[in-house]
Symmetry: C2
Subunit: 346 residues, 2 copies
């Protein structure tokens, strides 16, 4: 089996079935205006030749795109990885193809560079990055092809409602909830080990983690300690969090994600501070491993995979111009209390 010969084209099928190439096209695309007998002949020829439509040609000719390009931050981060997974799943179910292109914060991306990432003009695109290159990409695409782009990120309900090309969850609200929880436990204040995107736009977006944390502290009339900026890697977090765990007055740390939380736990352990006895640690994202650390991590669940799926659905509707059907919902971020949080010891 499996002849290494050239793949059959629509013309080969047409010849074999004794019809025109256009009729084959109609059958393939499920047009209703084809007689049943003809359809069968064509279908038979398709089966015999093992014909498969060529995606490239289809797109070139201006047909349906059936392809998404995902512009993303580093996929070693759990959020982007999970969202990508959701997108891929949803796309695969509809037989769309998925391109990925990582926006490296180290590169400077000109507008043209970003457009060059797309296989063709108007290529449906999902942006998953709220750092500088991500924001720039968003702007470029918004200018050039607003109908064929969707951005995933931390947005408030109002932002989501105002911009039909935005998809995401309100990180700020979730961070607020977690902070309030720690305050209610009796902690005088809560410190924050922040992910890069959170500090970069700190004070800007209402939906960012650091912002939600700070808001609750202010509202409660507590001291708002300077957030401690960390890089994305665990190693960087481990280094950045040292002063925090060394300070006995620090009794609660809200971490920008579960990796940072793990680094914090490790650092606390080495500094001789017990968790949650001396120090409460709360993570973010409910990364799969977080339920299995010892002690198990208290964290905020985020269903990134569903968000990815939702982004894909929205994009699809925007592209084909159908009524912007409400994006299928997903679970709100939710605090999951496990073992790393408790009342302060003193």
């Amino acid at each position: 089996m499996a002849q290494p010969k050239k793949a059959a084209s629509i013309w080969d099928v047409a010849r074999l079935a004794g019809v025109s190439h256009q009729t084959v096209s109609r059958v393939v695309n499920g047009s209703p205006r084809v007689a049943a007998a003809t359809r069968d002949k064509v279908l038979e020829a398709i089966a015999e030749l093992g014909y498969r439509p060529n995606r490239l040609a289809r797109s070139l000719a201006g047909g349906a795109a059936e392809s998404v390009t995902v512009l993303t931050a580093d996929t070693s981060l759990y959020g982007p990885e999970a969202a990508l997974r959701g997108i891929e799943k949803a796309a695969r179910a509809l037989d769309w193809s998925v391109q990925i292109s990582v926006l490296d914060p180290a590169d400077t991306h000109s507008d043209a560079d970003i457009i060059a990432r797309l296989p063709r003009a108007g290529e449906p695109t999902i942006i998953m990055a709220h750092d500088e290159p991500g924001m720039r990409a968003k702007q470029v695409l918004l200018d050039q092809q607003p109908h064929a782009m969707v951005a995933i990120g931390p947005y408030t309900a109002e932002e989501l409602a105002a911009s039909p090309w935005l998809v995401g969850m309100d990180d700020g609200k979730a961070a607020a909830e977690a902070t309030r929880y720690l305050l209610d436990l009796g902690h005088a204040t809560v410190h924050h080990l922040a992910i890069p995107t959170s500090t970069a736009t700190f004070g800007g977006g209402k939906a960012h983690r650091a912002e939600g944390w700070a808001r609750v502290l202010r509202e409660a009339g507590r001291e708002v300690p300077e957030p401690v900026p960390s890089g994305w890697t665990i190693a960087e977090a481990f280094k950045a969090v040292q002063p925090l765990v060394a300070d006995p007055s620090v009794t609660a740390i809200l971490c920008g994600n579960d990796h940072l939380a793990l680094a914090t736990m490790r650092a606390a352990h080495l500094a001789g501070r017990s968790v949650p006895g001396d120090l409460s640690v709360v993570g973010f994202d409910n990364t799969p491993f977080s339920a299995y650390t010892t002690p198990a991590l208290t964290t905020v669940n985020q269903d990134f995979e569903s968000v990815g799926r939702g982004a894909f659905e929205l994009l699809r509707h925007r592209v084909d111009g159908s009524i912007p059907r409400p994006v299928p919902g997903w679970p709100e971020p939710e605090l999951i209390v496990r073992e790393t949080s408790g009342p302060p010891s003193s």
Copy 2:
């Protein structure tokens, strides 16, 4: 800026520069047979129109592919994720585009299905999956387009040398090393919590983790306990490992990857067995978090990102028919001893 108009084509550039479309093509592709003056005119026109070649059209017309399709297992696994990252990085550096398509073990994939994943016949492809669908995909592509495919997986040095389309590291050897280490520590035997791909082909591939583990045990004349099969998720591993941690005669467990190891540590902790006092745990992959668990995980480092990069390089050379240059090497798997392993207590 940024007119939402249709993108400029090669013809628009040709018209503006006062040359033929072919000359533009030559300039774009860096053909030497263009007069300097003409080239400048064309370049100027390109700049003015913001022209970017259309990838789709280029591929359709039979030009260089500049595109890879990655057929992969679930990207939530560290190995595939890291390798994909390596591929994407290498591809981006050369301005190639990357498609991803996940092979779901739940689906039955017919040969035609697999071919249908490719945007076009002959599309350069990398396969990263050693489960059933992955093996099938490998076979299909080997039949149809051996010159445009590369497979990543656990292979021995001999397999690698024999099949120029294979790339990978010898997991079996690494597992053997880890097992020998535990034996040398004084453990009577070593138990194995196995990843799905390892048990599925258990006894088959010499390069599989379970195989390397069993080999060392046999060579040392030790009892070879039945390997305990686990699913990929931490939750599944946690469940699967229960009998092992409950058994006081079990003093050392080699885990198929770091996630399984984390589950094992957690289970051991809940069962009241201390690590490494009562039980030594060794993981696999050196997943980023593994250095920051408490106690820090002893594991086997695997540089998947480099392997991914190597696979891309190899593919590129195979596609353009250049001498199969030796794939740039990468670090051999290496045991990293941290805190979860030690001599048996009794």
